[in-house]
Structure formats: C-alpha cells, structure tokens
Symmetry: C2
Subunit: 358 residues, 2 copies
C-alpha cells in the first residue's frame, strides 16, 4: 500500500453508516502501551527508538491475524505526507512533528492504526463509523491481545498499564466520539453543553484532537481520566452522555426547522451554491460550508448529494490531501484554487433541472 | 394583445443585440406633445382628459401605418398591472400613479409606446437595443409625423413644441442611453464620471428614470436641456459622450481582469452560484448579482448563459412581473421565494459537469 493509493479512497470511519450517523461521525478508542524492556520515549536515544520500532514491527509482522497491515516509516516521509496522515486521522500531529525512528502501521480499511514512538512506545487506535463503542472496544481489545502475545507491556499490578504521561496511567485508554453539532452552534447552546460535560470530567476537542479548533462544527467528546476505572467504566461514562448530546442536537435542528425553515433552507442552499461555484476557497470556509450542507442533507433540505461524499470532502479538501491528489506541491493561493476545483468536480448538482413549483 | 401575453415575452430593447450591447443596454428617445385644442393636463378635468384620450386613440386607430398597436386603458388597470407596465419601461411611474382617463398604446414588439395623459397629452417613446440613436430618431420622427397627420400639436414658431413643464419646451425631446457600468462602480470611478457629465448638462438616472436608484449598475444618460437646440444637436450631445463612457467601462474591466482576475472570477462565480441556489431573494440582491453575472458573461468568465436571458431576468424578477407570471398576488416574503424559484428555473447550469483541470 502506497500513500498515493490512500489519497483517493475513504476510510471506513467516513462511510457515514452505523448508528446515529447523521450526528455521530465516528467512535474511536485508543490504548497507550509501552514495552517493559525499554525506557519511556523521552528517555530514549535514537538507538533505543530504533530498537522499539523493530520490536513492535516484528510483533505486528509475526502476528498472522494482522496480515492486512502496512507499515509506514514516518521518519522517512516528507512533510506533506506526514501532514496527509494527520489529516486522515491515522497519526497524531505529535507523531508527525516528532524526530527519530517512528512510524505507523495501518490496516487496509484504515479501521485501525498502530503508532510507534509517539508519546508512548505504542498507541493503538480503532475507529468505526457512527456510534459503536462496543465493537470498537471489541476490535481494539483483540488487537491489543494479539500484540501482547509477542511483546511484554509495562504493567503494574496496582496501577495498571504504565504510560509516559501520568494522565494515561491505568487503562491507557481514551474513548472518543466525534459529533457533528451544527444546530447547537447556530442556536448558541454549544458552550453551555460543553460546560456541563467538563463538570463530569469529559473533554471536548475539535476534529484534530487537543488544541485543534472545532472546524466544521465537529466535536470530539472523550474521557479525561483513565486511572482507577475499568475499561468498561470509561466506555460507559462516554457512552452515557452521547444519547443526550444527540437528543440536544436533534431538538436544536427541529427548532430551526420549525422556527425558520425558509431561512435555514435558504442559508444551506446558498452555502451549497457557494461550494459548487467558488473559484478559490480556504480550508476554513470549506469546512464551514460543508458543515451547513451536511446538516441540510440530513434534514432533507439538500437532496442531490450523499453523506459519505460530504464526509470525505471534509478530509480530501485538507491541504496535504489536495497536494497528494494533485501530485504536486501547492502554495496557499494555488491550494485555494485547487480546492474550489475539487469541490466543483465532486458536488455536481444533478437535480438542477428539477426545480418545480410546489 | 393582453398584458398576460407580454409577461413571458421580452421587449425588443432587451434582445442584447445592436452596437456595443455588452455595455449599452438600450437607446431611447421620447417626445412630449400636446394637442393645440386642449389645455395642459394640469388644467384639465376628467371630461377634457377623456376627450384628449379619444382624440389621440382615434388618431392612432385611423393611422393604418400604426396597425400593430394595442391600446391599454391604464385608468382601468389594477395596481399590479400598472406596476407591470412600469417595470417593462412601457409607461412612466407618473402615468401609473396618475388619476382619470389615461392610457398607453404599445406596439407588438414593445419597440415604441405612446403614453396619453401623462404630464403632457402625448408622450411618444421609442427604444432600441444597443447603441443606435440614429434609427431610434428615424423611428420616432416617423411616428410623430404619422400622428401629426391626424391631430394639431401645440406649437409656437419661436419656442417650438409647447409642453406642460418649461424644461421640455422646444423639441420636447429627451434622448437617453442606458448603460451597464459595473466595473466603474467596483473601481469607484462612477461618481467622478457622473460629475463631469453633469458639468456638460447631461443627467444621470437609474433604471427607472428620475429619482430611481441605480439598481443593477444601470445608468441612463440623457439631455437636460431641450430648448434652443435642434433635435440633431440634442442627439449629438448625448451620442458624443457615450463612446467615452464605453471606453472608461472597458478600461475598468480590463484593469480588474489584469489586477485581480482570480478574485473577480471567484466573486462573479459565487454570485452566479447564489442566484442559482437561493431559496428566497430580494429584488435588490437579484439586481446586484445579475449585474455581476452580466459582466462575467461579457468577460467570458461565465460561459453557460446568454446575455438576453440575463437582460430579461432583470425585468422578469421585478415584483409585478413575478405576480403576473405566477398569476396571483404575492406578498414580499412569497415574492422572494417565487423570485428564487424563477431564477433557478432560468439559470440552469449546463456546464456543471465540465469543470476540468487546465
């Protein structure tokens, strides 16, 4: 598998299927693991890091039940390719920006990835489309067990899994659900909702994790605490609030439809028109307009486009993706033109001739 | 001919043909005439006005060379129909708003109209597409002569034609050329240009004559003075400045293309997208966006629409036209929806699938 092959494709988690997928984009779990035989990354020199990389690569390679996995040597990659993997949510910005031997093993459908030498020796991540923490947990638990058959994890009987950062000690688990909440943003309820989530120790982040802005009205809700709780408890804690979030968003959408259907339809339709017509467009504006159109499709106000296409456009219109798809480096001005062209090509309006009196 | 028949059609002057029709919409001349046997309108009671109307209608009816003319009794018309005739430029707002016997004779192609009992007993108007004052003058001169074979005009050997308002005495002639000047507006040169026109006694008005705002970047340039000059001199005075105006506008367009082609193309294309996508839209916004798109078509930046279609949309999206086309009265909110629907139906993007790398 080459990165170029990934570019035109779409990860499993963008399929727009799975429960509640009008609002829940994806369910993700990651586990932080370290090898007992090596110091934590911050204490490692490049020789250690190389040895860790080899040990983990061998483990993955030797494990026949992980046969569809490709290893990408991130240390070898040009900056645009590292950015590309970040945009696809296959690696973290931290791994992209780090130095020395490091990489990521990615499975064919991009359902899981194994980051080597990020903050911890190993970070396992599984992502599924829609709200499906149960299978996500089953998947990641299986992968974790498979790898553990080949290596010895740093584990303490009282503390649990040991990790580089104390906030991850215990389960090493972060459970996140990515939600699309445009109506809560429009009705200005989002801040209030987030304040109440923080009170129960849940974190809210943007599309690209810690410190990233909530572009495109995407919000990741995840656990803050990993210590002193079982995996099931952590999953339950996150899983429990999601139905309420979905309900808030649905109610906000119903309110908008009831109070101002014409205004809403007009705004969304104009946003769609702009996406189809712009000759240059920034990433930020694209995310904002796609978010509006995504809600429009879910509300039945926009009929001629499918949710997976929009989900994919959120990722494919990011800077590194545009450059991979075009096969050349592009500066900001040219990316803005290329992005507009890409949107035009993928948002053909097929029902244009069907406007009718009703 | 019924008004309903006119609604879906397009007047000759909107054909978008004729010299310089990328910038010059139409050439118009009107003559103010009064019957020698009656007092001026302001001194008339309804009986007098009725007699004037009959005299002039008979003159038109008896003149076999004006066979394709239909008389519309404006006094009988509901408000929306009077507004409809104003929007089509067939009658003035003054005639629409006046009281008592009055009307307009319109020829089949809407090339000329004869208003009866406006400010003067008779106002003859001829409009041609593009810059063509010569044929416009020949046409109106012929019509004026034909009518004069049947009636006696109020004429004074020293002063010329006598008119209700002293500003029209002499030739009773107003020569106007309607220009589309979006680039002079964008580059903020329009005020300067107009100040110099005023210095040489030319008036600048919007699409709907005196007091109307310059909606859609349309400007009518016309003579202020009619007394002490011959018809030829008045025509020449207006005709002489038009090539300079055209030249200024062309230079401003070239400047915009040279300095900021991408920005301009992006703006115009987004404006087109909005026109095709809005679910409700005001008349003002429509005019503004159509103006942008009209320039885009002339500059080759928008390829899938013809100038006559745009010219027509400027008129057909006006409030009374929408109501005539829809066949029912509509309040502002419903007109805004109907206008959006009408625009969608008439602005089908046929090249949507053709976006290509270049």
């Amino acid at each position: 598998m080459k990165l170029e092959d990934l570019a035109g494709r779409c990860g499993e988690w963008l399929r727009g299927s799975g429960p509640e997928s009008d609002i829940v984009i994806s369910s993700r779990i990651r586990l932080a693991r370290n090898l007992a035989d090596f110091p934590f990354i911050r204490q490692c020199d490049d020789k250690d890091r190389g040895a860790i990389e080899r040990t983990l690569c061998d483990a993955v390679h030797d494990e026949k039940r992980l046969a569809d996995v490709t290893y990408v040597d991130v240390n070898d990659l040009p900056s645009v390719d590292r950015q590309f993997l970040v945009e696809r949510q296959l690696i973290s910005r931290e791994l992209a920006d780090a130095h020395g031997p490091r990489g990521v093993a990615i499975n064919e459908g991009e359902k899981f990835s194994l980051m080597i030498n990020e903050e911890d020796h190993l970070r396992i991540q599984v992502m599924n489309s829609g709200l499906d923490l149960k299978s996500t947990w089953e998947d990641i638990n299986r992968i974790d067990d498979l790898i553990e058959e080949h290596v010895t994890y740093a584990f303490h009987d009282d503390l649990g899994y040991l990790t580089a950062c104390p906030t991850n000690v215990g389960t090493g688990m972060r459970v996140s659900v990515m939600l699309h909440l445009p109506a809560l943003v429009i009705t200005r309820q989002i801040e209030k909702v987030f304040r109440s989530l923080q009170k129960i120790n849940l974190a809210v982040r943007g599309l690209y994790g810690e410190g990233s802005q909530a572009m495109g009205d995407f919000y990741q809700i995840s656990n803050q605490i990993t210590l002193g709780r079982s995996e099931d408890e952590l999953i339950t804690q996150v899983a429990e609030v999601i139905p309420a979030m979905i309900d808030y968003e649905r109610k906000a959408r119903e309110f908008l439809i009831k109070e101002s259907q014409t205004d809403l339809h007009d705004k969304i339709s104009r946003d769609y028109g702009t996406l189809c017509s712009a000759q240059k467009i920034s990433s930020e504006e694209t995310m904002m307009l796609l978010s509006s159109v995504r809600m429009g499709v879910n509300l039945g106000l926009i009929k001629d486009i499918e949710i997976p296409v929009i989900n994919q456009l959120f990722i494919h219109t990011q800077p590194a993706h545009l450059q991979k798809l075009r096969g050349t480096e592009l500066d900001t001005a040219n990316r803005n033109k290329e992005r507009a062209l890409y949107l035009q090509q993928h948002l053909k309006r097929e029902t244009d001739g069907e406007a009718e009196h009703n």
